[in-house]
Amino acid sequence: MTPSMPSFHSAAYELPDAFEANEFYQQQGWTDGLPIVPPTEERVAACLQAAALTPGDIVGVEGVRQRPITAEKVAINAVMAGCLPAYMPVVVAALRAMCEEPFNLHGSSASTGGSAQFIVVNGPIRTALGMNATHNVFGNGNRANATIGRAVRLVLINVLGCIPGQLDRSTLGHAGKFTFCIAEDEEDSPWTPLAQERGVPAGASAVTVLACEAPRQIMNEWTHDPEEILETFAAEMRHNMLTYSVWSGNYGLVIPKQLRELLVAAAWQKQDMREYLYRSARVRRREWTRVGKANVVARGGGPDQEFTALGTPDDLLVVAAGGPAGGFGAVIPPWFGSKARATTAVIDLPATQGVC
């Protein structure tokens, strides 16, 4: 299908071929360092058509610097990232969610804390796009996972100016800043999918985004007891509170099949896990003594002051994902407590063309 060519607002460049185009974009600082797919007008038009958007449509506005994100720029960056046109509605929804005020897009993307956007996709679009929710789910290997997350990062770089050393002041950053997008394994889990827990109707597709630090991997293969399993996650959350940031906020918990089956066998739902970890993932100020932070133990409420990882049980985002073997799991810490909240947006799909 040849999309009709819309009228673009962006400057256009005539370049000899795709190799020269990549070199030109690299030299301009318009990439994340990896090669790009040249955003020809035809490919950009196809992305816009797949999301039923016109070039001037506003996907969202970054509120602090009043930067509108147009559909045209999103499509250009999506092509550069290597997206197929069918991925475009997911990229758009992720950016819409990130432009909601509670996500604090400016603060979380400019901060020295160096966060990335953890993007979780739910609903039928996951399978329609062939997204990965199993083996190596945080890693390489799936085009949709890799390029949707990368497209969002390229929009931040090119549209919002999140260039390292300029607006992006990250001290370290982390690998998720290249891409950090997964699907939830809804087919192999009896749990309520994340998006539905966050108010999206069953059968709809949605993305949830969280400004996060690098995932912390845990392992416990020595118990079938759900509380013991969750204690390992709780320990990692407490560790993050002591060594990184004590402030409560949205934590992500990614649970692969091996540990998930043990929790399911014990009839634990996501809500049971949230309530358990709300109670268990706590530290007292005096514990900073053993991680080299004795100087702040006497501040605030004093050594017995208690902090919770989660402000409420609902702060925990539980996601079923990961390969079938291995008693692993992951804790995904928030960038900076509740200063950036997870947000969820429904993926708008053009009525005429289904999910693809």
Partner: protein, 93 residues
């Protein structure tokens, strides 16, 4: 045979943005000092205020504060800035 590709950047949002002209002098001006809410920003700005008053002859200094470094300045703080001829934004930490 060449290819035609599009610019991914948005360098001029909202149509046009331009820098405010520089002030020729601070003497007689009202200068706003915006504290970003982090620790020690206040002490830093105390020192800046002293320099502005003693060495540059500013007419007035308006002290402003963001309650949260990670979020935008509240509308009331932005409104207070409008009375100023210049703003100095300080990042404490």
């Amino acid at each position: 045979m060449s290819i035609r590709v599009l610019d991914p950047t948005a360098s001029t949002p909202n149509g046009e943005m331009r820098n405010t002209p520089r002030l020729a002098t601070l003497a007689g001006c009202t200068v706003g000092l915006l504290d970003n809410g982090k620790i020690r920003a206040r002490e830093l700005l105390d020192h800046v205020e002293e320099i502005l008053r003693n060495q540059h002859g500013v007419a007035d200094v308006v002290r402003l504060r963001k309650p949260d470094a990670s979020r935008p300045a509240p509308a009331a703080v932005v409104a207070d800035m409008r009375q100023c001829d210049a703003i100095i934004s300080a990042v404490g930490d």
